[in-house]
């Protein structure tokens, strides 16, 4: 039952439950509706109806709360508020979920969440009914994580719908959805999803502990949770995976990870997130394993390409020209004739231009976004080369690196790669391949030092080898992959016979 969920955090409001008290607290708001009613024999029982306009289904109130109270024989014969409360408790008012409240704070929280409250001033008791009825977006197709063969449903902004979507996919009675409330002002409900007897208990406890420990004003985007609960805060790499896809979310829960759903956000968080996860796409498991393995290997290579290509170009064109095949070297040198900038600066200009195009594409409406892309490609690609601001080789290098970025299944991860691409290019411009080696080493060192909820970020490449490698560079046939990831220390390691 929804009302039986434990609210860990609530607005601390003192006082007995009376209409006057509640009016004192809420009366400034115009969307709060108070209505006084008299029911029972000779209208002896006085009660007040309280709800937030727009968040409730008024038909439910009229038909299933008010109508029975005013017309049913049991209630019309009642002589006191106490009688009415007893009748409701006995189930004479046939409404699936109601809650008897004696604390004014609970009462106000329930009303704010979209319940209707009947307040009996004389006995200082309120009964709330779940009549939520606010508008919500319907379940739609994924916008950022499209797959050809796979489920099309995604999370929406309503927590309860999202938990229901998960429950539909993971029907085991051992699925646990624990809710906590975070945010002093937003009072956002956050659901922690895991499977009892499978997920590592320590991991679950740690996630709940960290989320419960948050004392912040608002939770209006996933960053408010993610940034506060991760171990290593100074890193561009995502330490928690996020997805809008329910199938991906559920697959991770079944693997032994902990999921987090936030009310108001159509995204599920998966804890912990390691590098290997960010290179896996849901479609890997719906295609032939040979094809998937090839694509996944290509994805790893493209990760290296997008990270290193501009810096390798700067290195070999500026420091190690002997590495380039002669004909290509002559062609590059010829195309750079007349370009006034050094290669590093050219690459920098193009990388920045590329970032500008991406930003512009995201912010603008779709119709104008296309125009910007065409304009950007024409201006940056064609005009800049013709005007001898950059050489064609640089355009090709940056375009290749840019397109490779888009093959990364996770946007946060590709953003981190974009950032490091800049850094490595700077290292290369200082000392060529020596600089690139130093930069790459620093990146590797950084990745090695990161831990997410006690798990090394480069797992299973640096630890927990063996069986976990089956689902890394290659995706081996599913019938061979009999165990859940070692690093998660799940309580039930074997996932199939």
């Amino acid at each position: 039952m929804y009302f039986k969920k434990l609210f860990k955090r609530k607005e601390k409001t003192k006082g007995t439950i009376t209409t006057a008290h509640i009016k004192d607290i809420l009366d400034e708001s115009d969307d709060i509706v108070f209505s006084d009613f008299h029911i029972g024999a000779n209208d002896r029982v006085q009660m007040a109806l309280l709800y937030v306009d727009g968040m409730v289904e008024t038909k439910l109130i009229n038909d299933f709360v008010l109508k029975p109270l005013l017309t049913e024989r049991w209630f019309t014969e009642a002589v006191s508020s106490k009688d009415v409360v007893t009748l409701i408790e006995e189930g004479k008012l046939y409404f699936a979920s109601h809650r008897l409240i004696q604390d004014i704070g609970d009462c106000i929280n329930d009303v704010i969440m979209g319940n209707v409250a009947i307040i009996f001033d004389d006995i200082n008791i309120a009964i709330t009914f779940d009549v939520k009825g606010f508008d919500k977006r319907s379940i739609s197709e994924p916008s950022g994580e499209n797959v050809l063969k796979g489920a099309k449903d995604t999370f929406i902004e309503v927590l309860r719908t999202n938990t229901a979507l998960v429950r539909r996919k993971i029907s085991t009675p051992k699925l646990r959805i624990k809710q906590v409330v975070v945010g002093r002002q937003t009072l956002t409900h956050i659901a922690i999803v895991y499977i009892e007897g499978l997920t590592n208990k320590n991991l679950v406890d740690e996630v709940i502990k960290r989320i419960e420990g948050l004392d912040i004003d608002e939770v209006v985007s996933i960053g408010y949770i993610e940034e506060y609960i991760v171990d290593n805060k100074i890193t561009a790499f995502p330490l928690i995976a996020s997805t809008e896809r329910t199938d991906k979310f559920c697959a991770n829960i079944i693997s032994g990870r902990v999921g987090v759903l936030i009310d108001g956000l159509p995204i599920g968080l998966i804890i912990p997130g390691v590098l290997n996860q960010f290179l896996q796409a849901p479609e890997d498991y719906s295609q032939n394993f040979l094809v998937s393995s090839l694509i996944r290997l290509m994805r790893f290579l493209l990760m290296i390409l997008t990270l290193l290509l501009p810096s390798i170009y700067v290195s070999i064109v500026t420091f190690h020209q002997e590495m380039i095949p002669t004909d290509l070297a002559i062609a590059i040198a010829g195309s750079k004739e007349g370009v006034p900038f050094p290669s590093f600066f050219e690459i920098l200009i193009m990388l920045i231009a590329f970032e500008i195009l991406i930003e512009a594409g995201i912010r603008l409406p779709k119709t104008i976004g296309n125009a910007v892309s065409i304009l950007g490609a024409l201006v940056v690609g064609e005009a800049a080369v013709s005007a001898k601001i950059v050489s064609p080789g640089v355009v090709i290098v940056v375009a290749l690196a840019g397109i490779s970025t888009f093959t990364m299944p996770n946007q946060d991860f590709s953003n981190a790669l974009r950032l490091w691409r800049f850094l490595l290019t700077i290292f290369s411009s200082i000392a060529g391949l020596v600089g690139l080696s130093i930069g790459s080493l620093l990146l590797l060192f950084h990745l090695c030092t990161i831990e997410t909820f006690g798990i090394p970020y480069l797992t299973p490449f640096v630890s927990h080898g063996g069986k976990s490698f089956m689902d890394t560079l290659f995706r081996l046939p599913l019938y061979l992959n009999k165990y859940r990831p070692d690093e998660l220390k799940v309580e039930n390691k074997r996932k199939q016979r």
Binding site: V317, T318, F319, H320, Q321, E322, I324, T326, A329, I330, I332, A333, G334, K336, E337, G338, V339, P342, S343, I430, A431, G432, L433, V434, G435, S437, I438, L441, L442, F445, C448, T449
Partner: protein
């Protein structure tokens, strides 16, 4: 964490300290690619005017945007097509290094030797001794050790480079084609700088360096007319034989093939023999392998047995007779074996006469009998010229390609 950081510092300092750069600068030197002149061929000669000096000729390809015109001592920038892209720079100095740096003074870009494809040593310079000329190219940081080394047969490297550029063909491309087509004739192979260095450092190794020759086509040049660039071609013409680091002479294409046979570098080629009726038959070699067996008496080497296997296909037949009966085939086997034997005997005779072990005997002795080689290696110069060499050739013909009998065969009619 502290250990990790310490480990990181150690790796970083190792990268910096062992980068191979000079102490004053840990980082490699920086130069924008468009400011470099990519030298493709490096020619080294003795200076014709001053015997103490070295003359260096450098060939490079002009870029699209580069205007025609002289870029140094010799060039033909006004010519069309490929020739218009070819430039040469010539400079002299006491050392190769000094000459190259001197040429820098007249070059519009920084001379860059990282793309040198071949080093050509002039005939006269090679006869004087090649070691002093190749020291710079072996030592230089920019030059690669997989450069090809050639000798300009009977001319200077400068002459060869300049005349080749006049022919309108790119000399680097020509040399590259020679290397790619080696398998079709197996006459003159290629020699990498690193191989040459190894041979110069080795003991009793005869060295053979591919020789490039300028050939003038007879049509125009003999008539005293104007020399057009189509009249000049560069040919790969046998090997230059080096003894004691000095060029002692050249061997022709047939002897070069025999050197390749004995060093197991022969890939394929044609052997033209006569059939029992006196008509020519071309046998295309598909396998040629030599095994050297040494006979010893105590520690003294008595003789070398060269077991050569040659297998071929019939590539062409001029007669219209059936030459595929047992007797005819055996005749052809014998002819083929004799042709191989003749070549091998000729090169053995040449090598023993000049006491230069280009046959690979010393090397294979060292590999097969290292202990015995240690005992005889100091006397190898006196042993080699008198060494008894026996040859046994196992000759076979395997296939006849698309047809067996010739067209219009007599017996069929």
């Amino acid at each position: 964490m502290k250990r990790q950081k310490l480990f990181l510092y150690i790796i970083l300092s190792t990268i910096l300290c062992l980068s191979g750069c000079k102490v004053s600068s840990y980082f490699p030197s920086k130069a924008e690619i468009e400011n470099l002149e990519f030298i493709r061929i490096l020619g080294i000669d003795k200076s014709p005017q001053n015997p103490e000096e070295i003359r260096v000729t450098m060939l490079y390809m002009a870029r699209e945007s580069q205007p025609g015109g002289k870029a140094g001592g010799n060039s033909d920038g006004d010519q069309k097509g490929e020739a218009s892209k070819i430039r040469t720079v010539v400079w002299e100095g006491r050392t190769v290094s000094e000459a190259i740096k001197g040429a820098q003074m007249i070059s519009e870009r920084q001379i860059f030797l990282g793309h040198v494809f071949a080093v050509i040593i002039g005939d006269e310079a090679a006869r004087e001794g090649i070691t002093k000329y190749i020291d710079f190219i072996s030592r230089g940081m920019e030059l690669r050790l997989n450069n090809n080394v050639y000798i300009a047969k009977g001319s200077t490297a400068e002459d060869l480079i300049v005349k080749s550029s006049q022919s309108g063909k790119s000399l680097p491309d020509t040399i590259e084609h020679f290397q790619k087509n080696y398998g079709s004739t197996s006459t003159s192979g290629s020699l990498k700088l690193i191989e040459l260095m190894g041979k110069l450092d080795g003991e009793n190794n005869g060295i053979f360096i591919p020789a490039l020759n300028i050939v003038a086509q007879e049509s125009d040049s003999t008539q005293g007319g104007e020399k057009g660039r189509e009249n000049i071609a560069i040919e790969l013409d046998g090997y230059g034989i080096i003894k004691g680091h000095m060029l002692i002479g050249y061997v022709d294409k047939q002897l070069s093939s025999a050197i390749n046979i004995l060093n197991n570098k022969y890939i394929s080629g044609d052997i033209v023999v006569s059939d029992p009726y006196g008509y020519a038959v071309t046998l295309e070699v598909i396998e040629m392998h030599t095994k050297k067996e040494y006979k010893f008496k105590g520690d003294d080497i008595e003789s070398v047995m060269l077991n050569i296997i040659v297998n071929s296909n019939v590539g062409e037949q001029h007669s219209n007779k059936n030459i595929y009966d047992k007797a005819s085939l055996e005749y052809l086997f014998e002819q083929q074996a004799d042709a191989v034997k003749d070549s091998v005997y000729s090169i053995v005779e040449y090598a023993q006469k000049h006491n230069v072990d280009v046959l690979g005997f010393g090397k294979s002795l060292f590999q097969k009998h290292p202990v015995k080689w240690e005992r005889i290696k100091d006397d190898w110069d006196s042993i080699f010229p008198n060494l008894k060499v026996d040859i046994d050739v196992k000759s076979r013909i395997l296939r006849t390609y698309d047809i067996t009998q010739p067209n219009s065969m007599e017996d069929m009619k």
